[in-house]
C-alpha cells in the first residue's frame, strides 16, 4: 500500500513511531498529484514547495524529541472558499482572481495549530453553487473512480483529492449537500456538522444561515478526528455554538444498542435509482442482522425542501455576493464612465452563468412585492421541515437514507437542465434547512460507483451519527462492500 492511500489516523501513528516521516507522506501525496492531477484537476493551486518545507520542519522537531499533535504533518486539502492568510482565494470564480486573503479563517488557525500541512486549495463550483464542480471558472474536476463522471459538488475538488490520494484529508463546505454529495459520488466520508459547531469565520459566504465547514476523509475515524480539530466556539462568529467539543474519536467503538435508528420512508421515491435503493436496503439488512431495531420515519414536508432551499439560499447569496464589485479587491475594469458601469462590467464578466442565475433569483425573491410570497413563505415552510425532524427525533436518534438519488452522473449530463442538477441535493438539503448534523459514508458494490449512505442526527447529535456510521463502516468491510481507495 502506498502512503497516500492511508487514512490520517494511521499515518499519524506511523509518523509518531518514526516508521515514516512527514516528508515521506507529503512526497507520496505530491507524487500522486503529479500522476493524477492533470486528468482529475482537484486543485486550483498546490503548495508543493511550502508543504515539503513544513514537513521537514515537523520531522526535525519530532527528531528533536518534541511531542507534536497527532495529525502533525498530515497533508490537508482546503476548499478554495476558506481563507488562508497570504494565499490566493477564488471560490473558483473569475471575479476574485488576484485576491489574496489578508487573514486566516478560524478553521485554518486550528489546522495550523495542529501542525497539519495545507497542500493546496481545491476546485469547486463557483461560490459553492452547484452539484458537480462543473461550474468552475478554472475547469471541471473529474471523478477519480470514473473520469467520465462528475465528482459531485460543490466540494468536488476536496472529495476527489481525498478519493484519489491527492490529499489525506480535506475541508469542504456544505450549504445544501456540498460536502456529503461529492463524498458520496467519490466514495469517501463527508461530514456536515450541526450549524454553529464549526466557525464560519473566514469561510466565504454562500448562504449564511445554511453554510457549514466540515471534513472529507477516507474513513469515519478520520472524520471524527478532524471534527474534533475544527469544531468549537469562536468569538469571531456570532452563530457559533457555546459548547464543549466532545472527544468523538475516543467514543467511536462505544456500544450503539441504545441508539434508535430510523429509516427515511421516502428513500425509494420517484427519481431514486435502483442501485441507490438496493444500497439502502442492504444497510437496513445490516442493521437487522446486528439486531438493531430499525424504524421507519416519514417526512411529510420533504417535497418542499428543495423549492424552500432554492429561495432561501439564493436570497442570502444575492446579498453576500453584492460586495464583489471591483472596488476593494478582485478583478476590475480600466475604462469605465462611472461607478455603475464599473459594477455592471465587473460583475457581468466576473460571475459565471449559474452564479448570475442565483443572484438574480435571490434578488427577485427579496424584491419589494415578492418578499412575503417567496422569502417569508420559504422561511415558514422551513419551520415545518424542522418540525418534521423534531417529530422524528422523538422516536429515533439517527435517520438513514440515501445521500443522493443517484450515483455519480456523467460530465455534461445535467448542465443544460438546472432543475435536474438541483434534484441531486434533494436528500441533503433538509439537514441544512434544519441546521442539524449529517454524514455520508460510501457503500461499494460489485465494482460499481459507490452509493452514499446518509445518516442524519439531531442538532449536536454528532456522537450518535459518528458511532452508528463507524459501526456501519465496520460491517460494510465485513461484507466486502467497502474499499478505501
Amino acid at each position: 500500500m502506498e502512503l497516500f492511500e492511508l487514512p490520517a489516523w494511521k499515518l499519524g501513528k506511523m509518523m509518531e513511531s518514526g516508521e515514516v516521516t512527514a516528508v515521506e507522506v507529503v512526497e507520496s501525496v505530491l507524487s500522486r498529484i503529479e500522476e493524477r492531477e492533470e486528468i482529475l484537476h482537484c486543485y486550483n493551486e498546490v503548495y508543493g514547495e511550502e508543504a515539503l518545507q513544513e514537513a521537514e520542519e515537523i520531522d526535525k522537531r519530532r527528531k528533536g524529541g518534541e511531542k507534536l499533535p497527532p495529525f502533525a504533518g498530515i497533508p490537508v486539502a482546503v476548499k478554495d472558499n476558506i481563507c488562508v492568510k497570504g494565499k490566493d482565494i477564488t471560490c473558483s470564480s473569475k471575479i476574485l482572481k488576484g485576491f489574496i486573503s489578508p487573514y486566516d479563517a478560524t478553521v485554518i488557525r486550528k489546522i495550523k495549530s495542529q501542525k497539519m500541512i495545507i497542500i493546496g486549495r481545491t476546485n469547486m463550483d463557483e461560490f459553492a453553487m452547484g452539484s458537480s464542480t462543473e461550474n468552475s471558472a478554472y475547469g471541471v474536476t473529474r471523478n477519480p473512480l470514473d473520469t467520465s463522471k462528475v465528482p459531485g459538488g460543490s466540494s468536488g475538488g476536496s472529495a476527489a483529492a481525498v478519493a484519489s490520494g491527492e490529499a489525506i484529508v480535506a475541508l469542504g463546505s456544505d450549504t445544501g449537500g456540498s460536502i456529503r454529495q461529492p463524498a458520496a459520488f467519490c466514495g469517501v466520508v463527508g461530514f456536515k456538522p450541526t450549524y454553529g459547531l464549526v466557525s464560519r469565520y473566514g469561510l466565504i459566504a454562500f448562504a449564511s444561515s445554511l453554510d457549514q465547514i466540515g471534513p472529507i476523509t477516507k474513513d469515519v475515524r478520520d472524520a471524527a478526528a478532524m471534527l474534533e480539530i475544527i469544531a468549537g466556539k469562536d468569538n469571531y462568529d456570532s452563530t457559533s455554538l457555546p459548547v464543549k467539543v466532545p472527544h468523538y474519536s475516543t467514543m467511536l467503538e462505544d456500544d450503539i444498542s441504545e441508539i434508535r435508528v430510523g429509516i427515511m420512508e421516502e428513500y425509494n421515491a420517484e427519481g431514486v435509482s435502483e442501485e441507490v435503493i438496493e444500497g439502502i436496503e442492504e444497510v437496513i439488512d445490516i442493521f437487522r442482522t446486528m439486531r438493531v431495531n430499525v424504524k421507519s420515519v416519514s417526512f411529510p414536508h420533504m417535497e418542499y425542501a428543495l423549492p424552500c432551499y432554492y429561495i432561501i439560499a439564493p436570497a442570502e447569496a444575492s446579498s453576500n455576493l453584492a460586495r464583489y464589485d471591483g472596488v476593494q479587491y478582485g478583478i476590475s475594469e480600466e475604462t469605465v464612465e462611472d461607478i455603475r458601469e464599473l459594477y455592471r462590467k465587473v460583475r457581468t464578466s466576473g460571475f459565471g452563468k449559474e452564479v448570475k442565475r442565483r443572484i438574480m433569483m435571490g434578488t427577485y425573491v427579496l424584491s419589494s412585492g415578492y418578499y412575503d410570497a417567496f422569502y417569508l413563505k420559504a422561511q415558514k415552510v422551513r419551520t415545518l421541515i424542522r418540525h418534521d425532524f423534531e417529530r422524528a427525533f422523538k422516536d429515533v436518534d439517527v435517520i438513514i437514507g440515501p445521500t443522493s438519488p443517484t450515483v455519480a452522473f456523467g460530465i455534461g449530463e445535467r448542465t443544460a437542465d438546472p432543475i435536474s442538477m438541483y434534484l441531486s441535493d434533494i436528500f441533503t438539503i433538509p439537514a441544512n434547512l434544519a441546521g442539524i448534523s449529517a454524514i455520508s459514508i460510501p457503500l461499494f458494490k460489485d465494482g460499481n460507483l459507490p452509493v452514499g449512505i446518509h445518516i442524519v442526527g439531531k442538532a449536536l447529535g454528532e456522537i450518535d451519527i459518528l458511532k452508528v456510521s463507524y459501526k456501519l463502516e465496520q460491517e460494510l468491510k465485513e461484507r466486502g462492500l467497502y474499499h478505501g481507495i
Binding site: 432554492y310 476590475s332 455592471r344 460583475r347 443572484i359 413563505k377 415558514k380 415552510v381
Partner: protein, 89 residues
C-alpha cells in the same frame, strides 16, 4: 416578472439572448416554487435563525486591525492611501 429590472438591481448586464434564457429558467423555477403556496403556513413562524439563543456580544475593546499595505495591496486602484473609484452619480 421583469427580468430586466432584476438584472439592474443585481448590477448585471445581460444580452437579449441571456435575458430570454433567464426568463425561461425563472418561469420554470417559479412554476416549481408554486408548490410552496399549497402549504398551509397560517400561524407558522418563519425560521430566520436555527439557533435560538441571544446573539453573543463583544466587550467594547479596541483590537489591532489590518496594516494599510494589506488593504491597499489587494485594491485594483488606489491614490494617496485611498481606494480610488470612478465618477459617482
Amino acid at each position: 416578472m421583469d427580468v430586466r429590472h432584476i438584472a439592474k438591481l443585481s448590477n448585471l448586464e445581460l444580452t437579449e439572448d441571456e435575458l430570454r434564457e433567464m426568463e425561461e429558467h425563472f418561469n420554470a423555477i417559479m412554476e416549481y416554487f408554486k408548490k410552496l403556496s399549497s402549504v398551509d403556513t397560517e400561524r407558522v413562524e418563519p425560521t430566520f435563525y436555527v439557533i435560538k439563543h441571544q446573539t453573543p456580544m463583544r466587550e467594547d475593546r479596541v483590537e489591532k486591525g489590518l496594516e494599510r499595505e494589506d488593504v491597499l495591496g489587494i485594491a485594483p486602484h488606489t491614490e494617496g492611501g485611498y481606494i480610488r473609484v470612478p465618477r459617482i452619480r
